[in-house]
Amino acid sequence: MKAWKIAAAAALTAGAAQAHYGMIIPSDPMLAQEDGRSVALQVSFSHPFELLGMPLARPAVFGVVANGEPQDLLDALQPATIMEHEGFTLDYAIAAPGTYVFHMEPQPYWEPAEDAFIIHYTKAYVSAFGEDEGWDAELGLKTEIVPMAKPFAQWAGNVFQGVVKLDGEPVPHAEVEVEFYNEDGAAVAPDELMITQTVKADANGVFTYAAPHAGWWGFAALNTADYTIAHEGEDKAVELGAVIWVRFEDWARR
């Protein structure tokens, strides 16, 4: 409790917060038999490294694609407080082995600091009971990072690659922000510039990043929408984020 407050206070005094992230964090990215047959999700809109929350209104869309079958879960979201702000939790019963892709389209979030609205299309994956087929499927979201490496079962240090897509087309040279979910508050950034890492995709929209540490890493590809939303009578730009959460595991030895 105390540590968190100190971290938060430090972050606040350090200046402007870093990248925004839609967050879907499963209790377990790879469910084994011993883990039981349910997964819990924490759903929020936050600065994951600094553990600073922002309010997340009930999303426009929340669902799962379970072994290729879409299912609406919007009504199953339970209001919760995450990082001291409105968010949601969800208990999801997993009946069958396979890959479960949870995804959200939040309502536009007005960010005065950026004079723009933010919509982060967010995804997270759970593989259940040893089956991983379907991890590379494209959900067909407005904007989406399609993984080129499994977004689970990764060792810390592995590179992760994905294609940034907007309206189904790769986005050449797209900018991708990468941030660690500093769950236990233990990670320290020696410089503010280290909080959010930035990489650019190549001409085919493919980006590459090697995660230096085990845990959840968020990748957010940001593009400006070809439409605006009115705010107090003025048309404002809309930042579209394609967010994918990827879990990296510690190298294990017997």
Partner: protein, 294 residues
Amino acid sequence: MRAALAALFMLCALVASAAEPLKVYAVNAPLADFAARLGGARVEAVFPVPAGRDPAFWRPPLALIAEFQAADLILLNGAGFASWTQKVSLPRSRVVDTSRGFADRYIETEGVTHSHGPEGAHSHAAVASYTWLDFRQAAEQARAVADALTRRAPDAEAEIAERLDALTADLSALDTRARAIGEALRDVRVIASHPRYQYLARAYGVEIASLDWEAGETPTEAQWRAFDHLREGAARVLMVWEAEPAPEASAALTGRGVAGAVFDPGAASDAQSRSFIDRMSANLDALEAALSSM
């Protein structure tokens, strides 16, 4: 640290109204006892395993599983205890595996298949599951229960913390006593009627050979021969019963000049409704009495 912070983020997640006690379902008696003691009036602890059934292998009827699914908090022991919990969808955010923090210290056992008792054929798990018989591990499990309760009832944080301190002190006192008893048992051959005591043995430096005798039943001649084989060459032998032995069995033991003690592993509910601490104290009393009779 990690757990505490993770707890923090979930913290206000499911704040219960102060009026309604939290319905806490537990898979064994120690966890139910910890929850009741730590939560006080804020908790209604439910341990629904009927008397006479082995909670490690018992499977609840479907109606009861529905009750577990609807509980505010579901306390699991982990280490393979109550494997039915892996065969149903229990709401993950309300499930706490109390031994997860020391999963790297589980003791492996050989899988033995039994075909006795009301559970019918069952096999003892490949991991020893009576984790609380190492009282330091019991304290870790108590802390996991306290953390989970605090998440559900954040306004009761101070009182839960206070009760956890008291419970931890009691467990620590048991640990100290058990350590001394373990020391005294160093040159005694200890034979147990059932393989229950793996964590006790490891924690307190006692080597315990296990038989597979049914509680309360009179052992057969062949079983006694196996027993005699185990005690061969030992000057001092202690027989540990998991429940009060049949009088004939007791007599046969006395006839062999072997001391006996009842050590109730405490997974099932207690006929006398004693607390976990009282049950374990009685077990240590029994071991001390047996030692002094040798």
